[in-house]
């Protein structure tokens, strides 16, 4: 890869035609700089490719693959073969079809969790940090409260009373959304604390004072002036929240507090297959690999983004 923008590469001074091929740092937008840095982070690019493949697998796989997850007529516990690359499960369903559906639900849940927890965390964290005073006290004490109350208790209440919210219309039985909402409502604490801390210091900066002097409203100052300065932290946290959500959902399913039939998820699949580990290992390990692939790809992307946003990092020159 050519080291564009490095002074050595440009000497001796190029002719005007050549010069136009070289962007100098000053003519590049910040977003381009970040994108370039990100593209040079090999693990992150690998993560993006992997994640795109997984998304395609989950959302288009069902249309392409020859079997549907509802086909149950096969021989039970078939080991992997050409016809069934991942074998069949205890009900005689094709594992590829099951994995397509499981990945789909797991990704859906993870995205809802990441979006929800990021929005709640950023808004509450920014309000607490900017307004200080009683707003800060209330929000901070509320965070303390949620830290202290065991989250499994909250999960159990919602799962047992899952008629409270009914979505997808199939008789109110679909519950992946409830699990996702629950995880989102619990998962915003750390991002809120981080954003609060950042806003506390940003609000004292001169540009905020300038905006205030010009008569900008609180809403405008927070959302147009302060929060754009925290966007790197927000994006990295939201990315990592996806990986955490996939793992947390798996743990909740293992404890019987996660997604339940007729919905499914990778976590539910693996906890249903947990006793097959020695006798029919493909049932366990295929699901396991899919969970690891999702969270690994997202973690790589998050790491790449963090490096790309960090102006001090020296690894990849912009």
């Amino acid at each position: 890869m050519t080291e564009i923008g490095s002074p050595v590469a440009q000497a001796p001074s190029p002719s005007p035609a050549e010069a136009s091929q070289f962007d100098t740092t000053s003519t590049r937008k910040q977003s381009q700089v970040i994108l370039r840095r990100f593209m040079r982070h090999k693990a992150a690019v690998f993560g993006v490719v992997l994640l795109v493949l997984l998304v395609l697998f989950a959302f288009l796989g069902g249309a392409i693959w020859k079997y549907s997850y509802t086909d149950l007529g096969f021989k039970r516990y078939l080991p992997p073969s050409a016809d069934h690359p991942f074998g069949t499960d205890r009900l005689g369903a094709d594992m590829v079809a099951q994995l397509i559906r499981g990945t789909q639900f797991s990704l859906q849940i993870a995205v809802v969790v990441a979006v929800l927890s990021t929005i709640i965390g950023v808004v509450l964290g920014a309000l607490a940090g900017y307004l200080k005073g009683w707003v800060d006290t209330v929000i901070s004490r509320f965070i303390d409260l949620l830290l202290v109350i065991p989250s499994l208790v909250i999960a159990a209440v919602l799962v047992r009373n899952s008629f409270v919210v009914s979505v997808a219309g199939n008789g109110g039985k679909s519950n992946w959304m409830i699990v996702a909402l629950y995880m989102g409502l619990i998962g915003w604490l750390s991002i809120a604390r981080v954003i609060r801390g950042m806003v506390l210091s940003l609000r004292e900066k001169e540009f905020v004072e300038a905006a205030r002097a010009l008569g900008a409203s609180t809403f405008r100052i927070v959302f147009r002036h302060i929060l754009p300065n925290t966007v790197d932290v927000i994006i990295v946290n939201a990315t990592l929240a996806i990986a955490q959500a996939v793992l947390l959902e798996a743990a909740l399913s293992f404890l019987g507090l996660g997604v339940q039939s007729p919905d499914t998820s990778l976590g539910l699949m693996i906890s249903l297959n947990k006793n097959e580990l020695t006798l029919h290992p493909w049932l366990f390990f295929t699901t396991f690999v899919f969970i690891v692939l999702i969270s690994l790809s997202v973690n790589f992307i998050g790491d790449g983004l963090r490096d790309a946003f960090d102006p001090r990092q020296k690894r990849v020159k912009a």
């Binding site: 004490r141 065991p150 793992l247 743990a251 690891v292």
Partner: protein, 332 residues
């Protein structure tokens, strides 16, 4: 400093009151703990009335809460409500569970911290070396695995290993049914054999996850300090490389990990739910899951009070340590 600590502890008292009230409400919202018992077989109205009378569940919600709170501050933490659990006192059960969890997490936490800090520092000092890439790769992989799968794989591997031991005529070593019993007496070698067999798998399981967290964190903060201006200044003045790394960079790089680990340890007193479930340790995590399954209100409340105190205290320790290690920070 002293006044700060006292004030923080005083603020947490209303927090505990509100939290216990909310928690009681949540457990209540889960359902009637006697509901299942009533349906197990036909019960006479007199039986049912007696059961409700015995557990105090005939009283309204607020009254039950006030009763519990009054008893709690005098040291009576209530009893199990579900008849199947035969009125077991919550306090004794919690103390047992706590002891079990404590033994499990202390060892694991020490190993994870030492390993994590060591690997993180070496990874930062030798950035982009083979060691760094390997360590980063391993911690990423560990970070991306669902813990209960790791635990299940370890358990299955442990069973295989035991079978192999038997096949060569040795005794089974690894056990997956909690810590060795109290009444065990044998030679010193036997004791070591038993204890190591019981601890090794759950400890690996806990270390895997904690190590990934600590090593990533330590590497990042060590890189921050290694690239800081004051370290470069020190090097420019001509101090040795090792002195720059250990005296200047390392000491400051420990500040964030102290905060992270003390918050983390505080949260861990709630028990390692998954590790305990898989390896049959009846610690705090298992206690909570069982209490929730049985809808036991006083068990859940007792659990919450114990873990809440640890979370609050370790949060406070984190802040105090932070101020202690970094003199620029003033607590007020």
């Amino acid at each position: 400093m002293f006044r700060y600590i006292i004030r923080r502890l005083l603020i947490s008292i209303p927090l505990l009151i509100v939290a216990s009230f909310l928690c009681f409400g949540l457990v209540n919202a889960m359902g009637d703990p006697l509901g299942e018992w009533k349906l197990q077989k036909p019960r006479t109205p007199a039986e049912i009335a007696a059961a409700y009378e015995r557990t105090g569940y005939n009283k309204p919600f607020m009254e039950r809460y006030v009763d519990w709170a009054g008893d709690f501050v005098t040291g009576d933490w209530g009893e199990s409500v579900v008849p199947g659990n035969a009125g077991k006192p919550v306090k004794e059960e919690l103390i047992n569970a706590f002891g079990t969890t404590l033994r499990l997490i202390l060892v694991a936490e020490v190993i994870a911290l030492l390993l994590g800090v060591g690997v993180g520092v070496v990874g930062a000092v030798r950035q982009y070396s083979i060691f760094d890439y390997t360590a980063t790769g391993i911690s990423f992989a560990m970070f991306s695995m669902p813990l209960f799968c790791v635990a299940l794989v370890l358990k299955a591997g442990g069973i295989q290993f035991n079978n192999w031991l038997e096949s060569i005529g040795a005794e089974r070593w690894l056990t997956m049914a909690g810590p060795p019993g109290e009444g065990f007496s044998g030679g010193f070698i036997d004791q070591v054999y038993q204890y190591s067999g019981a601890f090794i798998l759950p400890t690996i399981c806990l270390v895997v996850i904690q190590f990934a967290l600590y090593s990533r964190f330590q590497r990042a903060s060590m890189l921050d300090t290694l690239n800081a201006d004051y370290v470069r200044t020190a090097q420019a003045k001509g101090i040795s490389e090792s002195r720059a790394i250990f005296k200047h960079a390392f000491r400051n790089a420990l500040i964030p990990i102290v905060t992270v680990s003390s918050l983390n340890i505080g949260a861990q007193f709630g028990g390692a739910v998954i590790t305990e479930t898989v390896f049959g340790w009846s610690g705090m995590g298992k206690f909570l899951v069982d209490a929730i399954t049985d809808l036991e209100p006083y068990q859940v409340l007792g659990f919450m009070m114990v873990t809440a105190v640890f979370i609050i205290v370790f949060n406070l320790i984190a802040d105090v340590m932070y101020a202690f290690l970094d003199p620029r920070i003033r607590l007020d």
